[in-house]
């Protein structure tokens, strides 16, 4: 073996050099590990430092003229609305697709089907945005018109619907497509880890395939599904381009099928290139808020995964 041949050399050499190499190497890798903390801390610190002028500025100098809080909260709400629409669409479909790959598709094709779904994740967000604005938005207009006519009494479907289709709902649908692969790939992984004995026991007792899935697969996978949905939520909250290109933004309104509303990420992307002075620091403050929201969501997701790992003994 070549490895043993080359590895014998240091043994024959004076061992002081080897010892130094050992401590240098372990020091380097430790430093790299600690750098991760440093980077995350630096992200928070520099955002905070640059955002400070916003918090110190008098209320009437902030965009909107009523202070930072009333500037940011419609954006936070818009971000949440877009993410919730995306989750409502992507969660059921994502879990069903994961079930398709793990339990329904013929074994021959299930692997390639997995690749196809991963391709969805590989497409850059700007292309989804361009596609959403040029193909999806016009295609959804008749549907929005129908909603406005028949369900217009519900505030979120109040008409008249946007005739370009560039609405919060469209942005939510595009986001749903983008986060679907996250939910699918994580759920699929956990579905395939279900103990075979549980599945076979259920089938042997005469369960149909769906009863088997409901009784053995889903209870086993529940924490995994929850954390995959949380991770997808984190992604949907921070996604920028899909919203920036698809949504024709405006002040906050209740209706999801009119143009209006805005998310934090898209607000930053649209305004940052021309911003200077206080406006710059305002947008960075908005970024800080977004960072904190996604941080909390991701930490909850990771905590669920960590707890679940301890109990399942899957390691």
């Amino acid at each position: 073996m070549s490895t043993t041949a080359s590895a014998q050399k240091p043994g024959t050499k004076n061992s002081a050099a080897g010892r130094a190499g050992d401590s240098i190497f372990s020091g380097l890798s430790l430093a790299a590990g600690i750098l991760i903390f440093a980077v995350l801390a630096a992200v928070a610190l520099f955002l905070l430092l640059q955002a400070l002028p916003t918090f110190a500025a008098p209320a009437d100098e902030i965009t909107g003229g009523e202070g930072f809080f009333s500037y940011i909260w419609p954006l936070v709400l818009g971000t949440l609305i877009a993410a919730i629409i995306a989750l409502l669409i992507a969660t059921p479909i994502g879990i069903l697709v994961a079930l398709y790959i793990s339990h329904y598709a013929p074994a021959r094709i299930s692997k390639s089907v997995g690749y196809v779904i991963d391709l969805l994740a590989a497409i850059p967000s700007v292309i989804y945005g361009a596609w959403g604005a040029t193909v999806l938005a016009p295609a959804l207009v008749p549907f929005y018109n129908w909603l406005a006519e028949n369900l217009g009494f519900i505030p979120i479907f109040a008409g008249p619907a946007s005739q370009t289709g560039k609405t919060m709902m469209t942005a939510g649908v595009v986001l749903a497509i983008m986060i679907l692969p996250i939910i699918t790939s994580m759920s699929r992984e956990i579905f395939t880890q279900t103990p075979k004995l549980h599945e076979e026991a259920a089938l042997a007792l005469g369960a149909t395939r769906w009863e088997m899935i409901r009784m053995s697969v889903l209870p086993f996978a529940r924490p995994g599904i929850i954390s995959s949905v949380m991770l997808a939520l984190g992604r949907a909250l921070g996604e920028t381009m899909a919203v920036a290109l698809v949504l024709s933004s405006g002040p906050m309104i209740a209706s999801l099928i009119k143009s209006g509303n805005q998310t934090i990420a898209a607000e930053i992307a649209l305004n940052f290139p021309e911003a200077y002075g206080l406006r710059l620091s305002e947008l960075i403050a908005a970024g800080l808020v977004l960072f904190l929201i996604t941080l909390v969501v991701n930490m909850i997701a990771r905590a669920i995964i960590a707890r679940y790992k301890e109990f399942s003994g899957a390691n």
């Binding site: 790299a32 590990g33 361009a130 960590a306």
Partner: protein, 372 residues
């Protein structure tokens, strides 16, 4: 069990308890055809088009199918078949956008793939020239500067993130011994995965803004932002690969008196190199399509700029974004859209090639793990 002794064919009148109440084989195709016909009829009522036809046909099938099967085979089989149909429907729903996106990019992008696009920049291209362009081939200006920007920014990001990510993964697998620090680093790497890309961009912009004055925008600032996004991917992929290196290899090396760092460099990493390389390729594929952090860090250039340390830069994603949002000729956006879609086609091709390359590397150089 007595019924099972009935020989098939001898007494067709009395069916077996086991085969009684089964749906005939032709039932599902017939429901399918029926659903398509009824769907067409309902869709014709509200103004026929293919989308509503498909939706109504699917709805009819999803309602009638399980009800019929439930009536024949009992409610358990009915709900089982409902779930089966739903699972298949969900899969089709998930594939439709993928096909639509790829079709849109191909259909809109191929006419714009001219030599101009690949070999010229947008330097000096004005709206007047766009207004004169009639055929797709007449459109001047291209994405060469954006390709240059993409390559150089991605290069710097890779150069910074790969060593850090690799060493962090080595610390986690080889040195941390499941200590608290290792656990904390793993946790924060996971948290870092979830940092929104625009926030990474803002961080780089804020960092360089503090040091070099506000609105410092160069390719290198963008590379720093992309590094923040790339490190967690590299760490996770590398860690996974290092963990599957069999412990026997390490122990054999230690038994020969080899130092730990030599063992890692000469035994562990060579064994895992294919997985690491494919992980790095996937990480590159992920950041190469990032748009948001570049909007706030790299500025927007129309000329070719190879120097990442001074001057603004454009990458393919920001090029696409700006061509769509602010067409070169506001009165005639078609040439800009044509350039944008062609650039999108190039970008998607690069990303797909990188993904394919990653799989090929993983397959071609996979270590022989015979006996394990």
């Amino acid at each position: 069990m007595s019924t099972t002794t009935t020989k098939p064919g001898t007494s067709p009148v009395r069916e077996s308890r086991l085969t009684r109440g089964q749906r005939p084989k032709w039932l599902i195709p017939v429901i399918g055809v029926g659903a398509i016909v009824v769907g067409a009829a309902i869709s014709a009522l509200i103004g026929f088009n293919i989308a509503t036809w498909a939706i109504f046909a699917a709805l009819v099938f999803l309602i009638v199918g399980p009800l019929l099967i439930g009536a024949i085979e009992g409610s358990r089989a009915g709900s089982d078949s409902l779930m089966t149909f739903l699972v298949y429907t969900a899969f089709i729903l998930a594939v439709i956008p993928l096909i639509s996106v790829i079709y849109t990019v191909l259909a809109n992008g191929i006419p714009g793939l001219t030599s101009n696009l690949l070999l010229t920049s947008m330097n000096g291209v004005t709206g007047a020239q766009d207004n004169f362009a009639e055929a797709p081939g007449d459109v001047v200006g291209g994405a060469y500067h954006a390709i240059v920007g993409t390559v150089s920014i991605t290069f710097w990001a890779t150069l910074m993130s790969v060593p850090i990510g690799l060493l962090t993964a080595i610390y986690l697998v080889e040195y941390s011994n499941n200590g608290w620090l290792g656990k904390a680093i793993t946790f924060f790497v996971d948290v870092m995965t979830g940092v929104p890309s625009i926030v990474a961009g803002l961080f780089a912009a804020a960092l360089f803004g503090m040091i070099f004055g506000p609105s410092t925008r160069t390719g290198f600032v963008a590379a720093v932002a992309l590094t923040v996004l790339m490190i967690p991917t590299v760490v996770k992929n590398t860690e996974e690969m290092l963990r599957i290196v069999p412990n026997e290899l390490r122990e054999a090396s230690y038994a020969l008196g080899v130092r730990k760092w030599r063992t890692i460099l000469k035994v562990v990493i060579p064994t895992a190199i294919s997985g690491i390389a494919s992980g790095v390729t996937l990480a590159i594929a992920r950041v190469i399509g990032e748009t948001a952090p570049l909007l706030v860090t790299a500025g927007f250039a129309t000329a070719i700029n190879w120097n990442s340390f001074s001057g603004w830069m454009t990458t393919l994603p920001t090029y696409i974004y700006y061509q769509i949002m602010t067409p070169t000729s506001p009165t005639n956006p078609d040439p800009s859209l044509q350039r944008a879609w062609a650039a999108a086609l190039i970008l998607i091709a690069i990303v797909m090639l990188l993904n394919l390359l990653a799989r090929l590397i993983a397959k071609a150089f996979a270590p022989k793990t015979a006996g394990r």
